[in-house]
Symmetry: D2
Subunit: 323 residues, 4 copies
């Protein structure tokens, strides 16, 4: 349900913003009316995403103050679209002058140039992780809405590379569990919940893999070993094991929805790397500023936010499933 | 770019059909005018998907004759929507009478019932792999169009489980390579090509994992080990390694686009399994008919089809990227 | 909410078919599960649209038998997409050989050729009123669903031209009233119900004008003359007059929704007319076959069908308006 | 192609903002890269829409300064989404305290309350004409892009009510002509250009009627009187008359696209009117502040803006019509 810079159908986020432009932000459309927004919870989500959070993070100063411009009246959503902006306070565009005609390896410099014939070269532009701030805003509102419906989302990170020399980087994994989704959420065929979650997660910068339930490990097992047998508890049907990760045929079965996302190492190293200029000549790029050695801990609230957007959208769509 | 039973934006497939209803089929909208369709190539694609293809396949008789109802005139596409149907010739619905009020483990019986309060219980209904026939039709047309633009798509399967006892099943992996995509294809942020490919692949029945480039293995490497250095060859910029799988920032870089999809073992075993009835009582389900022991070989043309749909849609959308 | 050959968002119709191809048809996606379909009512709707219906109609033999291929099980909708086809039984394509390289005045021959560089020249192809058969099928299902929610739709036609000489044609007006829509249906700003109804009505072949409530006559009145004062009856708020046509700010106010659609005269005359060939030479086109002198009576069920599609879609979307 | 607060498909505007909240604004997605933006022209468009413009306008002080937050770099579009805001500088919310629990006749107060169960009562909230400022921003960018493709859009207003007593209001008509659209723009069936233009125009506050070409007057003519005969001039096919308004079958024929929009009188009178409170009691509402006696002159740039959005979107989509 994504198209260009929009994700979601009934509940959707359209986002905008380059990393070193005046602001990032977005429009949240389809927010149900009557939800009381806890701004303190929102700020907490934003702080989890912010650089400087986590052991291996950069010190870029992003206080990420969200200004809401519409759709919330006296602290309660009124059903109209919620416009919001987050000013980029720590722009320092001169840090990036040396990158004007240079393509860094494993960055989106070259691909954006190839696509548009023009780009904002400052710090990744639209391809920067900076845009995820807008996702966390929409996700925070979605999470608060889901919470009132008894649905909770929790993710956590793990890093496999045990030692990261000064100037190098690492990737990692984020595991996420969605609890409380009733059976019957998700759409058939192309609109499977697994399909939508995969799309949402793979849209996060640096995400390179997605799996649900046993995921890739399914290929090592026989069918008889991994069937999720039914159990009935307090009159509610569930499954004894959860190899499927909470979905059958792409539709929730009432069990926890469990998935994992793999992130590649940060491509910006704090050591000289070989790039190329727009004429095809090799150039050495020396590091400037400060950058994260590992983003996976900061990706945790982004994964939760994207999951919240998708699950809320599907919960709302499901209201039309029956007459 | 998927919503319920539709995928794609400018080039889209809306599909319909239950496994034991009169037919499956769909509408392909946005097919560019002027493409000569090779019906023999289409039939070849269909035969690759058909049961009975592959070493561990069922013998259900599906000759999968596609009837085109519009949009093609004298063998050439005319830009209008292409309606098509494939009759279900081997219905044998009585094979499924015993499943009317029964939920099979790791099937979508229970989740469809939970969602809609009603379902077609015959052989998986809408959740059956039968619906992938419509995908292969749309994919075949997309592949022929892409071929004229110099883009080719090839997938292959592998099975890790070496021995499958009589009555048990296995899953497997499908690896896919898309060659010839020019740099600049894909959209920013939510519309990343990786994001769309993940959505498309995870919508295939039994798909449980997706990764691009190094994928999950990225977490075992430092950033310095996996940067894709640029090379210039014949004036064309490319990369020496392809850990990223052909994309940076979700946009193609001109290198091959490489991804993998993991499929779980077939959930229908040819041995008695424990299910549950609609009252919550345990029931033993005895196998009837014949079913695939492994679908991964049949999934190969489906993976190619979905890749073709996504890539063609994005190639067309990209025509609007610049003035 | 229309895009190419699809209309509607949660409840949608994607249609296909040329007038002299094998069939027209479509896919209805988002039909709520649990609706019992009365096939006799459907046939009645189809017969109202059929040529030969009405005083000034052609005698083309279209018995318009609808074959449902999915989504309905034992006469009840199951929530999955409803594929359907209507065979074109009376093709006589040789009637149109003389039009192969000819553009008729006020027809879509030239514009389709300009757009696609190729076209099906037989009887209007995709631009023929034949495609409205698919609309009436989707509309019939929507009407039956709305009926269970207490919403009814009735249209009637009027013709202003009192005398139509043998071989000439006339247009006319269709007025439509939707009763029983509760207050609060419709979306803000771009998604106004008036906006969506206008889009839907203007998509009907030969439609050239749309107005709601007083419509164009509003410009002849002062504000003080046309305010719709509130009245309270049995505790329900309504309005004493209905100049606004049942909407304020694009959202229903509980009063009847009333609108009109203007249709131009049929462009196919039963007398010689001057056209042009693909080389730009003038040609005289002599009439063949039989054609309607006035379509406005046949447009009545199409107007009702389009209204039903839009209203049902919005009723379903509205279920997500509040938490 | 509209859904809730978004319009357009490849080129789209998602807008937000209540009349007396902090700001209105939006996100323009799909703007082609490489368009130089003339900010002076933009300001000119904004000034045409502003209250105080026109003979019968209110004196609300809206200087409508547009702040662009992304997507434009060194004055040139870069293909990424364009976020923008316009602060509401003249809020005076206390002017509206008396309306908190009151529904004004022929306003959207009651319908928004019925839909969402909550509303921003200050000055119309989301239903205010204030939101059209965002449309004019997107339209200005679209117009500048179309201008480079040789397409121009011009509208003008007319008022039929000759005398408007002090405190009363009038509606009027806006006629619009789009010149330079090549033949072949627009989509079949539901995506007709006439259909999309109608949707866009009817989404403008107070719009109650739309017609294209002869429109409603078509019903007074025989077919033989209104056929648009072809003419060939300098090798280019066009039509001698333009009763159809530049479209056949919903697709442009190369002639001017001509349509009209009818606007109802402003519903806010500067005299006491009878409303109703939330308990159903009649209340007299005395006017406060200053309001327009006629908006039709201010609607002119909004009509042009909406036409520009639709035409640009369709020009871009048409690039995918052929291989």
């Amino acid at each position: 349900m994504a198209h260009k810079n929009r994700i979601g159908n009934i509940f959707s986020l359209t986002s905008f913003g380059e990393s070193h432009g005046p602001a990032v932000g977005g429009v949240i459309d389809g927010m149900p009316a009557g939800v009381k927004i806890d701004m303190e919870l929102l700020r907490h989500e934003m702080s989890r995403r912010r650089p400087g959070h986590g052991a291996m993070a950069s010190s870029r100063n992003e206080d990420d103050e969200v200004e809401f411009l519409s759709g919330i009246f006296d602290g309660i959503t009124i059903g109209t679209p919620i416009g919001f902006i987050i000013r980029n306070r720590d722009q320092r565009p001169e840090d990036y002058d040396h990158l004007k005609n240079v393509y860094r390896p494993s960055h989106a410099d070259f691909t954006y140039q190839a696509k548009y014939g023009i780009r904002d070269h400052r710090g990744g532009g639209r391809a920067s992780a900076r845009e995820t701030a807008a996702r966390v805003v929409a996700g925070a509102l979605a999470k608060q809405t889901l919470s009132q419906l008894g649905i909770t989302i929790n993710a956590q990170s793990s890093v496999a590379v045990t030692e990261i020399p000064q100037g190098d980087t690492a990737g990692g994994m984020v595991s996420c569990v969605v609890k409380g989704v009733p059976a019957g959420i998700g759409e058939p065929v192309f609109g499977k919940l697994s399909s939508q979650l995969a799309e949402a997660m793979m849209s996060i910068p640096a995400a390179k893999g997605f799996e649900i339930g046993l995921g890739f490990d399914f290929v090592n097992h026989r069918g008889s070993e991994v069937l999720d047998k039914f159990v009935v508890k307090d009159g509610k049907i569930s499954t004894a094991t959860n190899n499927s990760g909470g979905l059958q045929g792409g539709i929730s079965n009432g069990n926890d929805i469990c998935f994992k996302v793999a992130f590649k190492p940060v491509a910006t190293l704090m050591q000289p790397v070989e790039g190329i200029d727009s004429h095809g000549n090799k150039v050495t790029i020396n590091p400037r500023g400060r950058h994260d050695a590992c983003v996976v801990e900061r990706a945790v609230p982004v994964v939760e936010a994207m999951a919240a957007i998708i699950v809320l959208d599907n919960v709302l769509i499901n209201r039309a499933a029956r007459l």
